[in-house]
Symmetry: C2
Subunit: 679 residues, 2 copies
């Protein structure tokens, strides 16, 4: 007969007493562990929201105690991303660990177990090791040399952030890591990789590179960076909350049925989901585990019978979330993810896994267990990308709200900038304050790009105290920003003349605008992909021998990632047909290094258009969603066709009419002029 374990006496600790009084399920140690996760998540707009994970409605005393606990934890946390130990010490520690493991080297990519764009601080291993903080990159460390690989966007940043005497700095595409490995891995050497951080498609290339060097590629059980990173943050914890059906556009049960039917049609037993935005969409679930995108980090398996297993730290479930998920969603701890894959394998089932985006850990586990891997797309990707009419109504509302904030900012800028006192940081802060003024604002969808003059030519410029500068007369100012609202995610870029622009600036702005209009007014048959349309946005620039080195359009989520697939408008191949309801950006640009940058970005949604007489194909086009004036001072009318002028005038008229009810009088008066007809 077993004795009941006596409860820890709550007497001494006031927090323990408060927890007990509130009937909280966690004890003090549990709350302390929870808080380590909470401070590892990005700051929430409501700093007390996490307390609902302790008990649904904490009283003021408990809130005060919990707040103090969190403040202490935050102060105590030293993740070392900004401070000690020194970079050479870190690299030496990693090499020591590699030697202990019998490895000749290790590949450390940026990115997390979900291969996401924004990651929790715990997953900033590349930044911790090398100092490089960009959103894409990779390091390879060998016993006697090491290298960091970044793409063209980040070359300058890597020069500034990474110590050249520790890491060679190489171009990710032109000087690929596979070549470097083939050249430098010693014969017989084992190169380690973390199977959680690399995809099966990547492994194929790295394995070949190792073989060329006479070595081998081997998976590690535990990431050696984690082993030497004292103070590495815990996995993030933020409340995982239901996303209201009214916003989501469809009940989660409907989505599960639809995905399940697709799996059954393809004769698959299940699909493994590791992309948190797919899970968020499927279950109408949102969280706050990473910056800028309302994600709850989790894994899931969706079965062809409509059931879902959600592998998530249960402590993240806010009150009501379990009920929202319902009986067909089994919530399990992340540690149960592997055994669930084993079960699929044991039954020799066919399982859909996107081998381009999933962690190799998943496919290795499935294969070892005997599953049949079906390497297709994540079954949530396409339905997530095609917004329903209800979602589109919300997205339009979000764009009115966001356009009003941006237009207030542009009016403010027109008044203030000529004084010569506005700086990049001040401008970005002002824009955020206009957005925050609306109670629906849920945060920025990405760090605002606020680039004056030459900074505008750095496509992914991120202003810091060190680089902050004033918007000077005779320059261009480029501001690329976006917001999260529960009814939609926005992303918009405007380029503004500060004072009088040069003729060259106006000519190049007009070329970019012509490309923007060519895409906005494009007509194309059903089945066309964004890759087919990309050149339309570049034609005017190409004729002048100019171009821009980024995509023309990316998909945008619905209160989810500001970048999402599967569609895009790019010169890179993409075979996904554009479908009505997809949202995508239209953002051609031009960048003169050291001088100025130009980008004009609106979000658009794909929409059916009336077919002309005799048409044999159903035609599609774009409806522009973003509402904010385009700087008329930068348009060279002599380069515009009558149709192009008509488009801009009609767009401006719509902007003015739609936003007027949302604006103060001064901004309305300014907008009337800013949006006046060109001709």
């Amino acid at each position: 007969m077993a004795l009941d374990h006596p409860p820890k006496p709550a007497g001494k600790d006031p927090l323990a007493r408060l927890l007990a009084a509130a009937g909280a399920s966690l004890d003090v140690a549990g709350v302390e562990a929870l808080v380590r996760g909470v401070v590892a998540a990005p700051p929430a707009r409501d700093p007390d929201a996490w307390m609902a994970l302790v008990t649904p409605r904490p009283d003021d005393k408990l809130k005060h105690a919990l707040g103090k606990l969190k403040d202490r934890a935050a102060a105590a946390a030293d993740d070392g991303l900004d401070g000690r130990p020194s970079r050479p010490e870190r690299l030496a520690a990693l090499r020591g660990e590699l030697a202990r493991l019998g490895l000749a080297g290790f590949i450390q990519p940026r990115g997390d177990e979900h291969q996401g764009e924004y990651v929790a601080r715990r997953s900033e291993r590349l930044a911790w090791l090398t100092g490089f903080t960009g959103s894409a990159g990779l390091a390879v460390a060998l016993a006697d040399k090491a290298a960091v690989f970044v793409d063209g966007r980040y070359t300058l940043q890597a020069e500034a952030e990474v110590a050249g005497h520790l890491f060679e700095r190489r171009h990710l595409i032109d000087q690929p890591p596979t070549d470097w490995i083939a050249d430098n891995l010693p014969a017989g050497g084992k190169l380690g990789y973390d199977p959680w951080l690399m995809t099966p498609s990547q492994l194929v290339r790295y394995r070949a590179a190792c073989k060329k060097a006479g070595g081998t590629l081997v998976a590690v059980d535990r990431n050696p960076v984690d082993a030497v990173w004292a103070g590495q943050p815990a996995p993030p914890i933020s409340p995982a909350v239901p996303h209201d059906d009214a916003f989501a556009g469809a009940p989660a049960a409907d989505k599960r049925r639809r995905v399940a039917a697709d799996l059954a049609r393809d004769k698959l037993a299940a699909a493994v989901l590791t992309a948190p935005d797919s899970i968020a969409w499927l279950l109408n679930l949102r969280g706050g585990d990473v910056p800028h995108t309302p994600l709850a980090l989790a894994f899931a398996v969706v079965y062809a019978d409509g059931r879902v297993e959600l592998f998530i730290d249960r402590r993240k479930l806010a009150p009501g979330t379990a009920r929202h998920l319902g009986p067909d969603v089994r919530v399990a701890e992340p540690a149960e993810f592997g055994p669930a894959l084993d079960a699929l394998g044991k039954a020799k089932r066919a399982v859909r896994v996107n081998t381009d985006t999933v962690a190799a850990w998943v496919t290795r586990r499935l294969e070892a267990a005997g599953a049949v891997i079906d390497g297709g797309v994540d079954p949530c990707q396409l339905p997530k990308a095609v917004k329903s009419p209800a979602q589109l109504a919300g997205i339009r509302a979000a764009h009115r709200r966001d356009g009003a904030a941006l237009t207030r900012f542009l009016g403010w800028l027109a008044a203030e900038a000529p004084k010569g006192t506005v700086t990049e940081i001040a401008a970005a802060a002002k824009l955020e304050s206009f957005r925050s003024a609306n109670g629906e604002f849920r945060g920025l969808s990405f760090p605002t790009i606020s680039g004056a003059g030459a900074h505008g030519a750095i496509v992914h410029y991120r202003v810091t105290d060190r680089t902050d500068c004033r918007l000077e007369p005779g320059t261009l100012y480029l501001v690329d920003s976006g917001a999260q609202y529960q009814d939609g995610t926005t992303d918009v870029t405007r380029t503004v003349a500060i004072g009088k622009p040069t003729d060259e600036m106006r000519r190049n702005f007009t070329r970019v605008l012509k490309g923007h209009i060519a895409l906005a007014t494009a007509r194309f048959p059903e089945g066309s992909s964004g890759s087919q349309l990309d050149a339309l946005a570049r034609q005017a620039l190409w004729r002048a021998g100019l171009d821009y080195d980024h995509g023309t359009g990316h998909g945008v989520g619905h209160y989810l990632g500001v970048h999402e697939g599967p569609h895009r408008i790019s010169k890179l191949p993409n075979t996904v047909a554009l479908q009505p309801g997809m949202v995508v950006s239209n953002e051609p640009g031009y960048y003169k290094t050291g001088a100025y940058g130009i980008r004009i970005e609106n979000l658009v949604t794909v929409t059916p258009v009336d077919a002309p007489a005799g048409a044999e194909k159903a035609l599609l086009g774009f409806e522009t969603l973003t509402l904010a004036p385009i700087d008329r001072a930068l348009v060279d009318l002599s380069m515009m066709t009558a149709d192009e002028i008509a488009w801009l005038d009609a767009y401006h008229a719509r902007v003015a009419t739609t936003l007027a009810p949302l604006l103060d009088d001064a901004t309305t008066r300014w907008l009337a002029k800013a949006a006046a007809p060109l001709a």
Copy 2:
């Protein structure tokens, strides 16, 4: 001590006496075997050329005897492609063989060991089994059901050629064979495939399909169709001859050095070549083993030190070819190909193999032997595609010659067609006769598409005695044809109004023409791919709700395949940058089912163009190579911009000026009118 083997007495057989007198290396049995290969190759323009394979300069008596031998062999050959046994008997025989092998079914693709577009009669297994004669397709035969899969081009043809009670007829893309296999392969069943006829990339999909059905995919040692095909032709034998350096643009030794350097740069020991056009390019070698493309079927391995092993039936080497190949090219029998792969594997060398285009037999053999497969592109593909200035000079000469023949034909057609007596077959024959009149002509580069009226709407229409019809007034006639010359390969399409066209025909022709001109005048930065340009050719059609269901442009070889990669202009993804010297077709079209077809095709070559002031990118454009008038009667001037009219007028002026010296007076007079300015 060994005794010399006594020579077979030559006494009785007159052929034996003639062979002995000529000092031929072959005896009668050898010549008989040779002839079985000769009659399995397509007819050569010089029917006696093969005799040089017996002895360099046969005298008339020997030629007469050899000719008789060949005639007898041709008469005796019964490959069954057109006659007995009946289709049900063939399928039953195959099923018997499958049962004997313990197989539940077999996949029989169209295509040969080289994955080529045109194949020898020996490789027409799909046609023999199913009756389907198109250039792409696949059959799967199970014990109780079977299906033929063809793409949209061939749906109607498959309906006509394949017996529906034996084979389901399915759409290769919309109803893929993998789905059919997953549905129909019995659990536990083994589905056989011929590893010579499928690529590693294909196997991945088929293997997954079999697993879904609970079965497995297994390689066969010998193709079971071959086992039951009585009368299957021998491998083709035609003379493999040197391609003169003056035509080829560079000595073979230079090409070998270049490819070897590329391999060494990529740290590869060798590349395996199974595409005969790559081998033809690399070794400046041509042959006649398949229709329409001057190929000698062979395999090769090119090593990073510049050596080449050529695996070819030695009997195909014409006198002088071995000397042309030189000491760095080791000639070996095809049976030695496998052991050469084994040797690479044994040394654990890294070997370049294009896993999208090579026979799985090759990768299986390499992997089994221990080689490291590097799955990149065939290293000859890109240098083959980029023509040298010397090649381009030849190509321009070929186009003048070919344009003169086509223009004579168009003039003849203008005079004859109104009489209402010209038929599709007669027109195609007339066009070939004009081409043949030039001694440089080496044959058609593909079967002429000669489509009157509704036949013009069938993109790959091939006229037969059964379908032949007259060119009727009030219709359009579409003729797509090309020729092989030693200095170049041509491919051109013209659409001609027979009598008075309707306004609708003119409007749609003009839309196609606008697309053709948009591409012909495109400007694009270095690094752009054909996929990026494809939409330019479709814009005018798209705006009218029209389109065409084929690519806009394919690469063209130099006295090689009329279709070659790696570049193309297509809505399908292609990331190969267009480079100066590449040749590609510009062929937008429009097809009104049951009514008419329109296509305007010129070959163009990529060329640098002068950059405008302020340009930052090196710009490329196209030079049009094809020279023949475009039917002015089909142009609706009201739809054309001034720039478009100027382009057509300038093109026509160039056609008239360039061709005049090559034309008879009557054609010159006709051309003056056909090429007169529009405005």
